[in-house]
Structure formats: C-alpha cells, structure tokens
C-alpha cells in the first residue's frame, strides 16, 4: 500500500471533494491498484526512450500577437452564480 487513507483525505481536501468513510476506503484501494500497475510499467527498460512531454507529435504551436474584441460584459458574466459591480461575486475564501 503506497497510498494511505490520510493521503486520500489530503487529496480530497486539495480537490475540494467531500468523501464518506466508505468512499475513502474504496478510493484508497483503487488508487493503490493504479500505482501497482505503474510499478509494473516501471519494470520495463526505458533507458533508450525519450521522456514524452506530450502524447501528440506536435511542437511550437504559436500565434501572432493580435487582438480580438473582448466579450461584452453581459456575456462575460452570463455564467456567474452572482455578480456585483460588473464583477464575479464569490464567497470569501481565506
């Protein structure tokens, strides 16, 4: 077991997930199963394989520094749960 239930709790906190006691047991088990599988991959000899930063054979996709008009305010705020003075209104975080 590489991942403990405490690790799962910490991960859940960082991901803002509310897990029940049963959830925690289940996720601890499945996350460990995934890591066991990765362990199996680690047994492969990859000395001659370049690390991949991306799965697609693409590089240097760049755009010119050009402007497009902004969304208008109503559109920008259309999905805001709440708004005030043109700003997204959110609960205090700290």
């Amino acid at each position: 077991m590489i991942i403990s239930e405490r690790d799962v709790e910490q991960l859940a906190f960082l991901s803002r997930l509310d897990l029940t006691a049963e959830d925690k047991i289940a996720y601890t088990k499945s996350l460990n199963a995934i890591l066991d599988y990765l362990d199996m991959l680690n047994r492969l000899d990859t000395d001659t394989v370049e690390p991949a930063a991306h799965v697609l054979p693409l590089k240097n996709i760049l755009r010119e520094d050009k402007l497009q008009p902004s969304l208008d305010k109503e559109q920008a705020l259309a999905n805001a749960p709440e708004e005030e003075e043109g700003a997204f209104k959110v609960p205090r975080i700290v």
């Binding site: 930063a53 991306h54 700003a87």
Partner: protein, 479 residues
C-alpha cells in the same frame, strides 16, 4: 551573542508589454471596467484551448539573454493546481521543470564594489485575476473578482540566494528593473504592479555554509518596502534565534503602515500544487537562429552604457551609474549632451537641480517640462554671461514649473545680468559707505569680510550683478 549572516534571494514577476494575453487574444491593457478585457479562454470556459503568443516567448528570451541566461532547447508549460478564485480554471499555467531559461547573472555596484548575483531561472506564466474584498479581508463575506488581468503574460525571475543585505537586495531589484526596461519588454512599473517582488530571507551563523530556515515575504510594492521589510525580518529572526528559538518556514506579508511582517495563514497557501504538463499546450523547441536574432537585436544595456559614459564622456563612475539607472533618464541626458556638448556640466544639472525638482514633484523624467534643447539654451545664456549661475538656478525652477523657454523668463522677469561696470561701481560705493565695520575688518586682514560685502552687493542687485565683476571692483576699492 552569535553573529549571523543574512541570506536573501528574490523572486520577481514582470508583466510583458505585449498587445494580447499569453494564451488568448484579449487585450493586456491596464485597468478598464471589471471583466471587460476577457474572452472564453481567459475566463476558463469549457471547451476552449490556449494558444501561446509568439511575442511572449520572444520577450522572455530577450529578457533572459539580457541577464545572461542560457535559453532552453526544449521547454514546456505545466499546470499549477490550486483552489482560489483569482484563476477561473483552478490552475495557473506556468513552467515547472523545463523553464525557457536557466543560469544567468547580473552585476550590481554597491559602495564602489561590484558584486555578481546569480539567476537561477526565468520562466513564463499567466497573471491571475484581481480580488476586491468588501470591507476588510477577515470580515467580508464576499469577494468580487475581476479577470481583466487573468492571462496577462508574466516572466518570473528567480535569483540565487546570493544577497547578504537589504541594500544589496534593493540594488539587485533596481538593476534588474533597469535591464528589463532597457530591453523594452516591460514598463516595470511597481506602482501599477507590472513589476512585483517576493523575498526569501534566512539567517545563519557567520561561519556556516548551510542555509538556515527561510521565510518568504510578500506584498512588497516598492523598493523602500523591500528594504524595510528585509531589515525588519533580520531584526525579528535575530531575536528569535538569539532567544534559542527556531524560525518557522512560512509566508509572511509586509504591513507598510505598521512597518512589520505578519504570518499569512498557512491554509491560504497549501503548498501542494501537483504540477503536471499542460496537455492543452504542446512543447516548444527553441530554434537557435531565433535566439541569435533576438540576441543581436538587444540594445545597449546599462553596464555598457555606464562604461561608455566613463570612457567617452569622461564622467565619474558615480555620475555614470546614476544616469544610466533608467533608460529614460539616460536617453534624456544624452539628448541634452547632443544639444550642449559638455557632459560634466549637463550631468551636474541633471543629477542636481533636475533630479531634486523631479523628486519633490513626483514627476517622471518622461513628463519633464524642460526639454533637452531648453536646458542647452539656459546653459548657453550662462556661457554668454547674460545670466549668472545663481539666476540660472532660479530660471531653471521657473522653466520646470511653467515649461517656458529660458530667454522668455529672463526677459519677462528682467533677470539679465548686470555687467555694466558703471552701474555696479555705484552700488559698490553705496555698500562700502554703509558698512564701515566690514571695510575696516577687511583692511585688518579678515578675508571673510569680502564675502560679506560681495553678498551685500548681490542682494542689492537681486542677484543680477556679475559676480566676477563685483569681486574685482570691491577689491580695487578696498586696496
């Protein structure tokens, strides 16, 4: 008591002056009504994809070359994950293990010595949105979020822990600012937040080579704040260590009003960012020819300009250092020298009266009302003997306040120097008659009395008498 050595490293964020944001085509313009410089990409709407702005990469390389960094052959973007509403995506796109540039340095001058400060890395990332709290940060139930700044391109420059005093840290930041400004990739305005600085600071026993536990100080909005916060933190850490305590590794914020640093609650910065390569962005392989093109387009940088001022203009090192500190001041100075080819005289005026007036009025050199040609005209009036040096200073102040040409001020205010011998003789006679005691003193060998009498003549002529003439006439009369 144990003697401690201070160890300081700085992390500096600089906004790049591109037209559009780093991953989308919204404007980077400063200010604006909240959420009016946004698009689906920088609002993090589902289904959108970021595309890297080529000019951002170019500017990052340009800045990196100016501080002697090596440009990576292979570079990529990563996601820095955290929950805070300043980013709508719940992550910030940054660079983690393969930044665009590594391993540079810059040289700083301090008390006549040159010190080299290492630069660990330079990477690209996106700026965050701005949160406005209603009331104070601890009492407000809500925050208002403006995403205009979200996605504005930043470079972060991380120094080695090479600085040993608050003064050195300040000097480093000033020098870095000057160099980046010279490259033209940013305005570096601390007051608008286009240059921001966090400081890492720790103490260690003088003989030790290991690093002590550090604290990170945020909210440093000026050079002065940086220096004061570091001085305060040295005092605080010295006290804790002196009492046998331990430094807690934490993030602290500088309270400008109280003049102290305070711990930020650690929950705000859960330092577990779970970086991973951003699958929405593909890697960059930086073409060497492109790098060399950028290198060859770099302008003359502060160190080279300073050397030129010493070599070509024959200026003292002190003058050369101050004049080249900002590109704007150096450009102004050179325009003045082109109009009046006596660098030392121009330097004295620019570093003296002009700097004093700029500082006292909080005026930027780019908004200075005295143009280089006008300064040259004033100096020519002095050379011709039309006005005295003392009057020139008064005219200079008037030029600064009104933007008028020096001849106009001299004519309108009747400030032309009195060089008519007859007119001055009459006043000299008057002063001598009115101050028999001083006359007697001078004849008894008190040289000082002459200075007093010259002063009286200057006063009587409202400073307009030609001082050389006054001196000569007084001496003749007193023989």
């Amino acid at each position: 008591m144990a003697q401690y050595e201070t160890v300081i490293g700085l992390e500096v964020h600089i906004e790049l002056k591109t037209r559009s944001k780093v991953f989308c085509d919204s404007t980077t313009e400063f200010g604006g009504d909240p959420n009016t410089h946004v698009c689906p990409v920088c609002l993090g709407l589902p289904g959108t994809l970021p595309v890297v702005n080529k000019t951002v990469v170019e500017y990052a390389i340009r800045a990196a070359l100016a501080i002697n960094c090596s440009i990576a052959e292979f570079s990529k973007f990563d996601r820095k994950n955290y929950y805070y509403p300043d980013m709508p995506k719940n992550y910030q796109i940054s660079q983690y293990d393969l930044p665009i540039a590594l391993g540079g340095y810059l040289d700083i001058e301090l008390d006549g010595d040159t010190r080299r400060v290492g630069i660990t890395r330079l990477h690209m990332e996106e700026d965050t949105g701005k949160l406005v709290h209603q009331g104070t940060i601890t009492t407000t139930p809500f925050s208002l979020v403006d995403y205009n700044r979200a996605g504005v391109p930043l470079i972060e420059i991380v120094s080695e822990p090479d600085m040993r005093s608050p003064e050195e840290a300040r000097r480093y930041l000033e020098k870095l600012k000057a160099i980046i400004q010279y490259t033209g990739v940013s305005d570096c305005k601390m007051e608008e937040g286009s240059l921001r600085c966090d400081a890492n600071i720790s103490l260690r026993p003088v003989s030790s080579t290991e690093l002590g536990t550090k604290t990170e100080i945020k909210n440093l909005n000026s050079f002065r704040a940086l220096q004061r916060a570091l001085s305060y933190e040295i005092e605080r850490q010295t006290k804790v260590l002196g009492e046998g305590g331990r430094i807690v590794q934490e993030t602290r914020t500088w309270d400008e009003g109280k003049g102290i640093t305070l711990p930020l609650r650690s929950k705000e910065f859960a330092h577990d960012y779970r970086y991973f390569p951003d699958p929405d962005l593909v890697p960059m392989i930086i073409d060497r020819e492109w790098v060399e093109d950028i290198r060859s387009s770099l302008p003359e940088l502060p160190d080279d300009r300073r050397q030129r001022y010493i070599g070509e203009y024959g200026l003292p090192e002190y003058d050369a250092t101050i004049l080249t500190d900002t590109k704007e001041l150096a450009d102004y100075f050179e325009d003045c020298v082109n109009a009046y080819p006596n660098p030392k005289v121009v330097s004295n005026w620019v570093m003296g009266d002009l700097t004093r007036l700029l500082n006292s009025g909080a005026v930027d050199i780019t908004e200075c009302s005295i143009g280089p040609e006008q300064l040259a005209l004033l100096l020519q009036l002095m050379d011709k003997g039309t006005i005295s040096g003392k009057i020139a200073k008064a005219v200079f102040e008037e030029m600064f306040a009104t933007g008028k040409d020096p001849e106009v001020i001299v004519r309108d205010k009747g400030l032309v120097q009195i060089s008519d011998e007859g007119a001055i003789v009459a006043i000299v006679d008057e002063i001598l008659a009115g101050n028999p005691k001083s006359v007697e003193d001078f004849r008894a060998g008190k040289e000082k009395a002459l200075g007093f009498l010259v002063g009286q003549v200057m006063k009587a002529t409202k400073g307009k008498a030609n001082p050389d003439l006054v001196n000569r006439l007084l001496k003749e009369k007193l023989q």
